[in-house]
Symmetry: C2
Subunit: 77 residues, 2 copies
């Protein structure tokens, strides 16, 4: 199975959601990307439809926004 | 593994998220509950911390709200 990508920005809501997602999906099935630290991947996340973090982009390309933590504009500012 | 519970209310956002979650977690690991039709389970969902649907309650008891579809007050009205 193609990996999902979990985008977050280190916020407490993000970390909590990350643990849940890794437990549910399995750590081998999801790549974790901190776009607060790894800012070169912000544009990739936006292209995938990510409007806020934490978000999970599925292997099928859907962006699932989970428990609103921070908008992309907050992450970029 | 204890099952997760995915609560939804039949909205288009819910159905899309349901497909993604079932694909990611595996249909054998998640119970799907339509609280628009199965209204007796609304109180159970609220007790689990569900504030809007679609939402996934993990085996650990965390409520993950996914792509805002409808508030619980909308479902109840």
């Amino acid at each position: 199975m193609k990996k999902s990508i979990f985008y977050h920005a280190g916020c407490p809501v993000c970390v909590s959601a990350e643990h849940d997602i890794v437990n549910l999906v399995g750590s081998e099935n999801v790549e974790i990307v901190n776009i607060g630290e790894n800012r070169s991947r912000i544009s990739e996340a936006e292209a995938a439809g990510v409007k806020s973090v934490p978000a999970l982009v599925t292997p099928g390309g859907n962006a699932l926004h989970i428990n609103f933590g921070a908008s992309m504009s907050d992450v970029k500012s």
